[in-house]
């Protein structure tokens, strides 16, 4: 691709047309990205026209530009939130000094590791979700899935921009490796465990976008407080897009709950089998999915007491959520954090240095945010006149890393005996039968205005359009195959 073309095709506010280093890097990387997208992106829909939002500018009108486009022709752009005049390093040993506009040499490796770890999750989630289009419950949902996918792709671009611009040859190699690793592949897995777990059905997808993408949101919020200004600006713009992913997840699960509540009322039953027999997903199964994805996502914050977290904060590379607004002491060297530790069956409170607790502090904010989400889901049940409620499991439940791993806790966070865990496990976490059942419901419904029987339609459509609207225009050669003919409802 010619250089002029490259700058014109890639919407950006980083002056790509005069940045030779970035042009050279992208000339090599962009074709590889397209190869990766065609191989690992959404399977079977690359020729179709999808009603997508494209960021073409960071201004108010620019980042939400809607049009029907083929996904491979999506204009993945490179945007940084506008620079703040006089921004200072918001935390750590360098607090108050001017924010870095270039990578400080002493923190180069640490920063690269932070960026690569964040970047790796973006293509990973696209890979995890690549088959979901084939079982979409509606055109609206199909479109939302693809919107999430292309934006995860753009977030990859955003991170690769940093690697290309600030990390020289190492950065270019890391950028290539981001396209080489594959979710769930034992020979080149994605870096973080949760991103190697398959997202096999739409309930998992909605849980993933609620809980796992919310980890992403909080990581971005912490990186938005970085003293390395380009990272802060990049992540601040990514957060505008991340909000939509939360929306897709939260309303998705909410609509499943709504449909289930309606079925329970219609059938006048609480019996999970009866709900299942009528094509709904029973509340206990929804609770088990919730338990699984919350407990898996919460691992992503890292160890409760972490020297890496302390280093990142001390160096000013990663702050706390709303560092300047919510906290007064930005050096955080003398304070302590009270960490509950479990010795035997007793929970003790241990004082650990605040800096070493930064992962846990971010996890606190995340858990609080998740509690609001579950509250909102419960309001759906309340509105439907249902007495049942969903609950967020305790953070100690079902952990496979950190200080709470290695011994079982119940969903309330109480230590339990291994025999109790074994006996209760199938009540708390999805069983193979649950997963098989949910998958059995996953039949595509891709006709305009129609929706699958296990989920309620949304209150409204996208960008002022109705739910019953052609959010995806199928390429003529494949349309007949995709439109399902299973029993379904109109929205």
């Amino acid at each position: 691709m010619a250089k002029v073309d490259l700058a014109a095709r890639i919407p950006n506010n980083v002056d790509l047309s005069s940045d030779r280093r970035l042009q050279r890097a992208l000339e090599d990387w962009q074709p590889r990205f397209f190869d990766w997208w065609m191989e690992m992106g959404p399977e079977g829909f690359q020729a179709d026209q999808v009603y997508l939002r494209t960021a073409i500018d960071v201004g108010r009108d620019g980042w939400a530009h809607f049009d029907h486009v083929r996904m491979p022709e999506y204009r993945w752009g490179i945007f940084l939130a506008p620079a703040e005049e006089g921004r200072v390093i918001p935390c750590g040993d360098h607090f108050g000094q001017p924010a870095w506009q270039k990578v400080p040499g002493e923190y180069r490796n640490m920063l690269r590791r932070i960026i690569v770890t964040q970047a790796d999750t973006e293509p990973a989630s696209v890979e995890q979700q690549r088959l979901l289009g084939q079982t979409a419950p509606s055109l609206y949902d199909l479109r939302n899935l693809f919107q999430v996918n292309v934006e995860e792709g753009r977030h990859l671009w955003a991170m690769v921009y940093l690697l290309h611009t600030y990390f020289g040859r190492d950065g270019r190699e890391e950028a290539e490796d981001l396209l080489r690793r594959r979710s769930g592949n034992p020979d080149s897995p994605r870096i973080l465990g949760t991103f190697n777990e398959p997202v096999e059905d739409w309930l998992s997808f909605f849980m993933f976008t609620t809980f796992t993408d919310r980890d992403g949101k909080f990581q971005l919020l912490a990186l938005a407080e970085s003293g390395f200004d380009p990272l802060s600006r990049t992540t601040r713009f990514m957060l505008t897009e991340e909000a939509h992913h939360m929306f897709v997840g939260e309303t998705g699960v909410g609509r499943v709950i709504e449909r289930t509540a309606d079925l329970m009322n219609e059938l006048k039953t609480e019996d999970p089998d009866a709900i299942r027999a009528h094509g709904g997903i029973d509340l206990p199964t929804i609770q088990r999915y919730l338990n699984r994805w919350f407990s898996s996502s919460i691992n992503l914050f890292g160890g409760e007491q972490s020297s890496n977290a302390a280093h990142y904060f001390a160096a000013g590379l990663k702050g706390r959520y709303k560092e300047l607004e919510r906290f007064e002491d930005h050096v955080a060297l003398d304070a302590a954090y009270e960490l509950p530790t479990v010795v035997g069956d007793e929970v003790r409170r241990e004082q650990i240095p605040l800096r070493n607790a930064m992962n846990e502090i971010l996890r606190d904010d995340y858990v609080g945010d998740c509690e609001f989400v579950v509250d909102r889901w419960n309001r759906t049940l309340e509105k439907a006149g249902r007495p049942e409620r969903l609950t967020l499991p305790h953070r100690r439940f079902n952990r496979d890393m950190g200080i709470y791993s290695g011994r079982p806790f119940d969903p309330e966070g109480r230590p339990i005996a291994p025999e109790v865990w074994e006996a209760q496990r199938d009540r708390w976490l999805p069983t193979r039968a649950d997963v098989d059942f949910v998958r059995s419901l996953m039949q595509p419904e891709l006709r305009v205005g129609r929706i699958a029987g296990w989920i309620a339609p949304p209150r409204k459509g996208i960008n002022g359009n109705d739910f019953a609207w052609e959010y995806v225009r199928f390429d003529k050669s494949s349309a007949g195959v995709k439109l399902g003919a299973e029993p379904s409802r109109t929205g």
């Binding site: 040993d93 490796n109 590791r113 490796d177 080489r180 690793r181 034992p186 020979d187 080149s188 897995p189 870096i191 020297s307 302390a310 280093h311 904060f313 001390a314 160096a315 955080a332 060297l333 240095p353 605040l354 800096r355 070493n356």
Partner: protein, 558 residues
């Protein structure tokens, strides 16, 4: 810094163990393939106050490793390949435990590093001397001392999952050196280019995949899904190799039984070797007693009676005493080396060793055990004076004790004659770290004197020994007592640090080898860094590791 790891009130460290008591390794032998699987028990550190997470090790872990290597040589003549791997998922070995180092005294750290370095060298000695191929199978994180352990193997296989790396993060992360031979082996053994080694040693996260192979940090990278199989195939490739010096699976193993020594404040008492401590004088007397009877008639009989074979038992006991001295008796600065027994019987045993060491694997192993323990003596940072008196048996192998000593005193009293003797073994069976025999090193500038000394047959009288340069001084009976007493008292009054440095410089004349570089260059620099505020000061990198503060360095280069 506290001295929790070496406080005198703590239980003394014992060095004898056996596979039935291992806490941190799974030792498996199946036909020609042996496996040592690292599975360090977090809560089973030698001392309290640290958790051995992620297969990080302390001295207790290394004592077991050293024991396994020794037993592989003696007890498993059928083994042709050793696979070193990990039984903990996603991690091979994270190196020496930082919190253990942080809570240890300087003296302990130095001796810990010395012991681990000796053990890595024993791994290499084993491969070279027995033909057992050593294979490090890195199925997960391999950092610092973990990678240094892999470097001591003949071959390194690395799992390639896009993430698993080998690394030496000591400089960027801890402000110290990879102190178990890592830097030396990178450039000297694996011939990694010095500039690439420089890059590698300053990137905390290390190097993975193809680049690790291109830079020769590992021999082969293998995709995760084929890794176990590839390790298995590689191990099998060596399974059919013929044993060196008749090492054969059909042989009955020679089991190393416990020595059962008695230890207390007064010293150590084994059957042939004792250490008697004179605490007020900060001096100890190390006595090696000679054999009580003739050597066995043939190697088979030697093997059958291995537990009581003087040649083997005395070497093992001496080794145990030296380690006890190093770790449990830090204030003993001067060691007087004595022997007791019949020099003719020592000579007979030496002739047995010399006659069979080339064609019998077991006898060879006995000679190599002596080689190792004599090196350990060379590397022990205490002043050593050999006292050669009537009733002693400084002959052949035991004369190496006198040669290893910093000085030797021989009583010249016609009323009470006393002699020393050389044997063929003194020519080169027991090389020092510099690759030369102790006699060669002694007569570095005068090869003719070396040959003249080796030509002395039979017992050598004091005047003759002095003339030949085999002893330092030969006082007569009138001078002896005062001469020896004054020398010992004078020695005990000198700065222990200066003596350690001086002795280490004088003992190893001659060429540099990988070993001398490791002990003389790497360890010496490490010991200096371990004392510097940039590592162990209040704001030093090692002190602050894992703490919320970042280190503050004194930027002046020395």
């Amino acid at each position: 810094m506290s001295a929790t790891a070496t406080s005198p009130s703590l239980a003394p460290i014992r060095f004898e163990t056996d596979p039935g008591r291992y806490k941190h390794w799974v030792f498996e032998v199946a036909g020609p393939i042996a496996r040592l699987g690292m599975c360090v028990q977090e809560g089973e550190g030698l001392r309290d106050g640290y958790q051995l997470k992620l297969n990080s090790y302390d001295l207790g872990v290394d004592i077991e490793l050293a024991d396994a290597i020794r037993r592989l040589r003696f007890e498993h003549p059928g083994v042709r390949v050793l696979v070193l791997d990990s039984r903990i998922p996603r991690v091979f070995c994270a190196g020496a435990n930082i919190h253990m180092l942080g809570s240890s005294s300087h003296a302990f750290k130095v001796n810990f590093c010395k012991f681990t370095n000796e053990t890595r060298l024993y791994l290499e000695d084993m491969a070279r001397e027995t033909g057992i191929h050593t294979l490090a199978a890195l199925g997960g994180t391999c950092a610092g001392g973990g990678y240094e352990l892999a470097l001591a193997c003949d071959e390194i296989l690395l799992q390639d999952d896009g993430n698993t790396a080998v690394s030496l993060p000591e400089v960027p992360l801890l402000g110290v050196l990879p102190g178990t031979g890592g830097l030396t082996r990178l450039v000297d053994k694996r011939k990694v280019r010095r500039d690439l080694a420089d890059v590698f040693s300053t990137v905390a996260e290390g190097v993975k995949g193809r680049r690790a192979q291109e830079w020769n940090l590992v021999d082969q990278v293998i995709p995760s899904s084929r890794f176990q199989q590839a390790v298995e195939e590689r191990a099998r490739a060596f399974a059919e190799v013929t044993g060196v010096r008749g090492r054969d699976a059909q042989d009955a193993p020679v089991v190393l039984e416990g020595l059962g020594g008695a230890y207390d404040d007064g010293g150590v008492r084994h059957r042939f070797v004792t250490l008697e401590v004179d605490a007020p004088a900060r001096t100890a007397t190390l006595v090696v007693r000679g054999p009580q009877g003739p050597p066995p008639p043939d190697p088979a009989a030697a093997r059958a009676g291995a537990q009581d074979l003087w040649l083997l038992r005395a070497a093992r006991e001496l080794d145990d005493v030296l380690l006890d001295l190093r770790f449990n008796r830090p204030e003993i600065g001067t060691v007087l080396l004595r022997t007791e027994g019949d020099a003719a019987l020592v000579g007979a045993h030496d002739r047995f060793l010399e006659a069979h060491q080339e064609d019998d694997w077991f006898v060879f192993e006995v000679a190599m055990a002596w080689k190792r323990v004599l090196k350990r003596l060379d590397l022990t940072a205490r002043s050593m004076f050999a006292l050669i008196e009537p009733g002693s048996c400084f002959a052949g192998t035991l004369f190496e004790l006198a040669l290893a000593a910093d000085r030797s005193y021989m009583l010249d009293d016609p009323e009470r004659p006393c002699t020393v003797a050389l044997a063929g073994l003194n020519r080169g069976t027991y090389p020092m770290s510099n690759g030369l025999s102790r006699l060669q090193t002694r007569f570095l500038g005068d090869p003719e004197r070396l040959e003249a000394a080796l030509g002395l047959s039979g017992p050598i009288a004091p005047a003759e020994a002095l003339e030949a340069g085999l002893v330092t001084l030969a006082p007569d009976d009138i001078d002896w007592e005062d001469e020896v007493r004054l020398a010992i008292e004078e020695r005990a009054s000198l700065s222990p640090d200066a003596l350690t440095g001086m002795e280490a410089n004088l003992r190893f004349a001659g060429p540099e080898t990988l070993e001398t570089k490791i002990f003389g260059r790497l360890s010496a620099w490490q010991n200096w860094i371990f004392q510097r505020p940039n590592a162990v000061g209040e704001q030093g990198a090692l002190t602050l590791y894992g703490r919320p503060e970042r280190p503050v360095f004194d930027w002046r280069r020395t």
